[in-house]
Symmetry: C3
């Protein structure tokens, strides 16, 4: 029996109808079955592609990408995922104001969607804005579809907002699942999601929030660690606590990197900006207060600099399980002695984990493709089986 | 009988051979049959797509887009149209001088066209330049094809020049046809194409010119209204007059928005720059006279500001037929109280017409696709029938 | 027998297995059989396309392009080649430092390649850097593929480096082959690859190097001519000498344009920067020495200006074989009296050769496609035969 057939049999037992024609904002909106379905479909698409079997769902159609921040990794992941399914990417290059008016979004949303099957949006710069933008955009498409403006309702893949970064956290988790030999082996695994020093400032909170909001659902013992003042959104911590309770795992918060790393199976040390500061920044941008923004930046860099000891050094790694925890990062990392003088991780640590780090990243195109697949294909089980049975070659010669 | 079959039967009665391998510059170059053929094919392609039937003509091939102005709507419409037919868009991002030398255009034209099936050009900034650029470009391709440099002669879709904006006016008219229940119901309908105040300056004339040059061909009574000094090109007015005579409609010009709106079935209030000022601007750009350009801009804004009463207010709308004329705009509009303090239209009027406005825009991708289809497909009737009969799915699962 | 079948029979006799899954850096890495195979496949793909037969190898897949310099011609050639074979182009728009760190390249290379089949890189700005960048990039992909990060190892097409410009020189040679009626007619033909004056500075050396490194392999008598101080890389001259010896041709260097043009069958007059100056420039960029760069630029322009007599004038052309040598240029040229006051070539000469010049350029998309084809298709002979036999239409209607 092929790997794809095994995965399809697993998929068959999961309830996934809720995903059809639906958007993907946050992992905590989705049921356990739905998340598992994404993993199964991602692995199946990868297996088919490795065996040179075409996984095109579409003969033509567009995937619209909107990157309100710079991006290389996610941009190429989205482009790859769309191409894998037969969609052409058309990028909306907004050079307009960062905090757009509701009405303008409503118009733009409809204007780019006449033949769009998927919308991928990255908007993580502004606390309280990123998700709102995505929601406003998709609500406009609901209206456009209902009123007969659009022939189809494109579905959303959240490519990062101010709250969650689901394509990242899901790719991360699939990497963990494969590293530990299956989702059934995750129970009790200790995860340290920790802040780390970086010479830059203002990195989004969506990664730590995405990780604690997702990893707590699989019975793992998740520790969030950061210096005082680097709090994440309290409502996401609430979600993490509830998840942990439901899954038989644990969630705790500490203010010491050492404590978080102690005995950890998995470590994810990464810089982010304090939530409160990001709220202030949003208000300063709204007010167009450039002086205030510069002042805030200075303060944040000074504040960061007080915590240079929060770094994933060789010493720190020794505290982890057998000194060999799985080191994770969403990339690119600030690497001490390579890309900066003092950063998130020692060069020697980073270098030792390069292969697993790149593998971690390699899941993102498939996760995105699986999200699109499950929102577009009515009967995903039948579709995977037909793809395999028909065996159309991706490369014909 | 399917909608597509009905449209195909209509298409069968029209003489369209002249469109095969031909360019689309201006609507007034085309016969009535040819314009109707575009509407029929646009509706048929839309019907097929709505029924999930693939409308790919091409297995591979390129659509080259050249946007010498910013664009979102037309860019996505062109990308959608190409994708619908199986062409990949390759964008030529010119960052060279606005007014290019003939020789350079000749070279560029050939260099980007080795595997191009379609060329879409937008060049509306400079009076007396936009059309000339397109013509020079396509003449170079004629030469390239004749001399064996190119294996195929790509055909042009004018995505807006200084004279006409045919993909806009054709999409607008298809919207009107559907709103009034068929082309046969247009006779005698009163259309007000009027200038409106906007806080910006220098908007192209190709929209009003495109509208009066096209709408007069269907027996409608078209009124062009603008303050003194906002004349459009006189030769286009001549075309409008002749069209009206031939179609049994009417064309007149007035200098009062109120008069134009009186009893109108359709209103299209929109800002544009005076033709004479645009000629001056072209000369100033040619001379590289920055001071002169700034001075002209100031004068134009001051001139505009004298006509703030030219706005599509609720009061103005009450003058129209039953107070319920179809309000049209090519978007984006300058909306009083939303995007600016005083603009082309009251927010309450605009908001009431949002659904028809977005529907109006939704025809553009299909109009462009139909233009490409009719210039590339030798037997469009047979092609549509085969597409429907074969019924290849656009989305396979 | 079709042209494609004839070409396929020629291909059948060539040893090409070394090209499968291999990169294309430099023509001198490749055997004579391999170069001939590229010409045969390029001509076959062109023949099939001219007969409306689809040459898609891929049902989906990405071609990644990285242009570290501006480019129009090569960009469209790469896009055309990818599209012809069924690959979608995804462009990596690097706005980072020119001289990147090894580690960063390693990461970028893997991150963009998860679903990439081909990588096209242009990096010709910096002597000793361009090739190094490509090599570092591809070594990283070797590692990525070996370690299971990538499912496939994308292959490289060098779209120009500091050393060679193989897609240019191969397209140039295919043009020469067709102009002279076959590769067997090249023996003894006199080629003048000469420097020419241009009002700009710093043009890459990869074109003259590519030409002397390739044209010497076919028994031609190649003369490199330039003023003192405009030396090319000595190791490439060594390659040219060895090639000439092996092929029964000749290679010599002179310091007079007149001498080089005397009796030439083919002339290729083109500006380039002195190798030594380019080395200095690389060092200045590395040191971030802006003042030094400006100073060097001034010196080079002054040095150029001493050689305004190195121009392809009508008088110069009279010296060539019957006054009718084949004039070649990679385009765009600096044309005296058209694009500049004094440049590489007289307008009257350039204009007389426009058709052959554009034809010369028209081979590049097919050369690139052939390079991709031979590195991706295991049995190219069988593939071409199946393409022709199946006869799937590129344009279906």
């Amino acid at each position: 029996m092929s790997k794809t057939e095994k995965l399809t049999q697993r998929l068959e037992k999961l309830k996934t109808n809720g995903m059809y024609r639906n958007d993907f904002y946050w992992t905590w909106d989705k049921s356990g079955d739905e998340l598992e379905a994404i993993f199964a479909v991602a692995d199946a698409l990868r297996d088919l592609r490795e065996r040179n079997i075409s996984t095109r769902v579409f003969d033509s159609g567009l995937g619209i990408s909107i990157f309100r921040d710079n991006s290389t990794r996610t941009r190429f992941s989205f482009a790859s995922a769309c191409n894998l399914l037969g969609l052409e990417v058309s990028d909306l290059d907004e050079k307009t104001s960062q905090i757009a008016h509701g009405e303008t979004v409503r118009e733009t949303a409809n204007m780019v969607s006449f033949m769009a099957d998927v919308i991928g949006i990255r908007d993580d710069m502004f606390i309280e804005e990123g998700h709102k933008y995505q929601k406003t955009f998709m609500d406009a498409l609901d209206e456009g579809y209902e009123k007969g403006i659009l022939e189809q309702r494109p579905t959303l893949v959240n490519l990062q907002c101010d709250v969650d970064h689901p394509t990242q956290s899901m790719a991360d988790l699939l990497h963990v699942i494969h590293t530990f030999g299956g989702v059934e082996n995750l129970k009790g695994k200790k995860v340290a999601m920790t802040w780390a020093y970086s010479p830059s400032y203002g990195k989004p909170l969506s990664v730590p929030q995405g990780i604690i909001g997702l990893f707590t659902r699989f019975g793992m013992e998740v520790t969030l660690a950061h210096p005082e003042g680097y709090e994440v959104m309290p409502e996401i911590e609430e979600i993490a606590k509830k998840n942990a309770l439901a899954s038989g795992g644990a969630y705790r918060k500490v203010t010491s990197m050492e404590e978080a790393f102690q005995g950890a199976d998995i470590v994810y040390p990464k810089s982010w900006a304090p939530f409160k500061a990001m709220e202030r920044r949003t208000q300063l941008y709204r007010a167009g207060d450039q002086a205030g923004i510069s002042q805030l930046e200075k303060e944040l860099l000074a504040q960061n600099a007080q915590h240079k000891d929060w770094t994933c050094s060789e010493e720190m790694m020794k505290r982890t399980k057998d000194g060999k925890a799985l080191y994770m990062h969403c990339l690119p990392a600030d690497i001490t002695g390579l890309s900066c003088e003092a950063g998130e991780v020692d060069n020697s640590v980073f270098d030792r984990y390069i292969v697993p780090l790149y593998k971690q990243a390699s899941y993102k195109p498939y996760i995105i493709a699986a999200m699109i697949f499950l929102s577009k294909v009515k009967d995903p089980v039948a579709a995977l089986r037909r793809m395999e049975a028909e065996g159309r070659l991706r490369k014909a010669f």
